[in-house]
Amino acid sequence: MAERLLSVEGLRVEFKTRDGIAKVIDNLSISLDTGETLGIVGESGCGKSMTALSIMGLVPIPPGRIAGGRILLDGEDLLQANEQRMREVRGNEISMIFQEPMTSLNPVYSIGNQIAETARLHEGLSRADAMARALEMLQAVGIPAAEKRIHEYPHQMSGGMRQRVMIAMALACKPRVLIADEPTTALDVTVQAQIFDLLNDLKEKTGTAIIMITHDMGAIAEMAQRVVVMYAGRIIEQAGVTQILTDPRHPYTQGLIRCVPHLTRNPTVERPPLLEIPGVVPALSQLGSGCAFAPRCPYADAKCRAEMPPSRAVDSGHDVACWLTEREAAA
């Protein structure tokens, strides 16, 4: 294993809402090594994006608040860094690409201009050098006729192209960490495949570590080495990608994998009904003291509803937070 690049320890993020304090992220710890891709999965609203924004130092404050924890980049606690330092970090050491390529680019500036801006900002390049860098990046992300397209505006490009521009922009300063927040949700599968290939390629070439956020287990399988499963702001399971896919321990993880009709090359005539996870994610401000998944869990008992399960290693590099595994272990 390579050396530890980024680690988040005991992160807590709270939001003030009209219904009270919402613990959007509760005691979250993850770590990322150089050259590694970490996947984060979970249902909508479970805090995936908020984790990413916390690392970027972009949690909107107020109404948000970092209630505790540390985010260490090479041992430097980013939560203690001042704004000036954070600006140096963003786009330079840690970059991020977003879900909506349609709206994430400024419509009034040419894409070349927007890519070059990062390079000028962090590396102090001259305008011409920065544009040259932008061109280089556009070529690197596989945009055809890059010399021409560098002067185009976002609205002149398709979604896939824009996402490539976003990637070019994020990688312009060769960051050590790239956070990709559902980068392909808005794209067609064929384009999604291109983007995944591109990210894998670039990772190979530059060694950039990637945090890949998604709700699609297939995408995780395709991209990540390690997976973190989140539910209602907490990590409920964490393991290597094969372990998660073949041996999910948490009922929620199991559900997440089995409730999706996976494409198979050998379909049978029989089509058993899909597994369902009943109900919806609870409102974060109304979480009780117990396991957040208990209300939807077919195996939940009184203890589950009353007490929060701690995270426990069930295997090497496989942690689960569920009373069920406790029981199994005890049994």
Binding site: R18, P273, E276, P278, G279, V280, A283
Partner: protein, 299 residues
């Protein structure tokens, strides 16, 4: 498919058992949260009450010359003083409220009716209907509204009706654009398609399906339109184009403008009345806007 699967899929009951708040109640709650809007509503209610009850409160002809001209407020029992003809300003203001509100209301109604009809047709039918109606709208947009209103009032001689109609005729374009945009947006939404797929006719879809959903911005706009119409009436009166048979606030200012330096209250008091009314209308508009879009307020 087994039975147990079916039951599993049907037992789902994720509704939190929170008391169900009626949208209207929620609307009222949201509105009441905006204190300025509540104040605006109060002012509005007071003015409308004064207008409706004018003959009951004060059974005096507002044109009656009751005292020495240009008495300052408070003197000889005239709370607001007297105007240049020795008429009681308080009476004039109260009776003026009737006319001002009537003209403002009527003009706003005309504005909304024209604007809404044109906007709705253009937005719903699109194509050449839209093209034609929008050209007409553009046409009315390039003519300076006050100038056009002046010409219209001059053409048909200044009476309450002509003033209200003229104001309506020159100010509907904004409403039309707004209504058109809303109709264009809404007609693309799936529930409108759904309404057609369950056999709704065009008329039903325009007026019963789309319109209620297009109303919030239009209602907000209506509150502002009343305010703008009142300002318009004031401007026309100020320029001398008003009905001399009735007392309106704008007319009071126009009539007394020559006394600006010696009897500033004759101009200031009706000015404040107009100001407060229009202010109330904009506050109400703001409040309605907040109440219709609770999300906006959270920011």
């Amino acid at each position: 498919m087994t039975d147990s699967d079916n039951t599993q899929s049907r037992q789902i009951d994720e509704m939190p058992e929170t008391p169900v708040e009626h949208p209207f109640r929620q609307f009222v709650t949201m509105y009441m949260r905006n204190y300025a809007a509540v104040a605006g509503l109060l002012v509005f209610v007071v003015i409308v009450a004064a207008a409706l009850l004018a003959p009951v409160i004060l059974n005096v002809d507002p044109f009656e010359m009751v005292d020495v001209p240009l008495l300052p407020p408070g003197e000889s029992g005239h709370l607001f003083g007297t105007d240049n003809l020795g008429r009681d300003m308080l009476v004039s203001i109260i009776y003026g409220a009737r006319v001002t509100m009537a003209v403002g209301g009527a003009a706003a109604a005309i504005t909304l009716i024209i604007g809404l009809s044109i906007g709705a047709m253009a937005g719903y039918y699109r194509g050449w209907v839209d093209e034609v109606l929008m050209r007409i709208t553009e046409f009315f947009q390039v003519l300076p509204p006050l100038l056009l209103a002046m010409v219209l009032v001059a053409l048909f001689s200044p009476t309450l009706e002509t003033v209200a109609i003229a104001i309506g005729v020159v100010s509907w374009t904004g409403v039309a654009r707004l209504a058109r945009a809303e109709f264009m947006r809404l007609r693309e939404l799936d529930f409108v398609k759904a309404a057609r797929s369950i056999g709704g006719r065009d008329r039903r879809i325009i007026w019963l399906v789309i319109l209620p959903n297009a109303l919030p911005p239009l209602i907000v706009n209506a509150a502002l339109t009343v305010g703008i119409a009142i300002l318009f009436e004031a401007a026309l009166s100020f320029l001398g184009l008003s009905d001399p048979n009735v007392m309106s606030w704008g007319k009071l200012i126009g009539d007394n403008r020559d006394y600006l330096l010696d009897a500033p209250w004759t101009v200031t008091i009706p000015g404040v009345a107009i100001f407060l009314t229009v202010l109330a209308m904009s506050l109400i508009g703001d409040g309605l806007n907040d109440a219709f879009n609770p999300k906006l307020r959270e920011r």
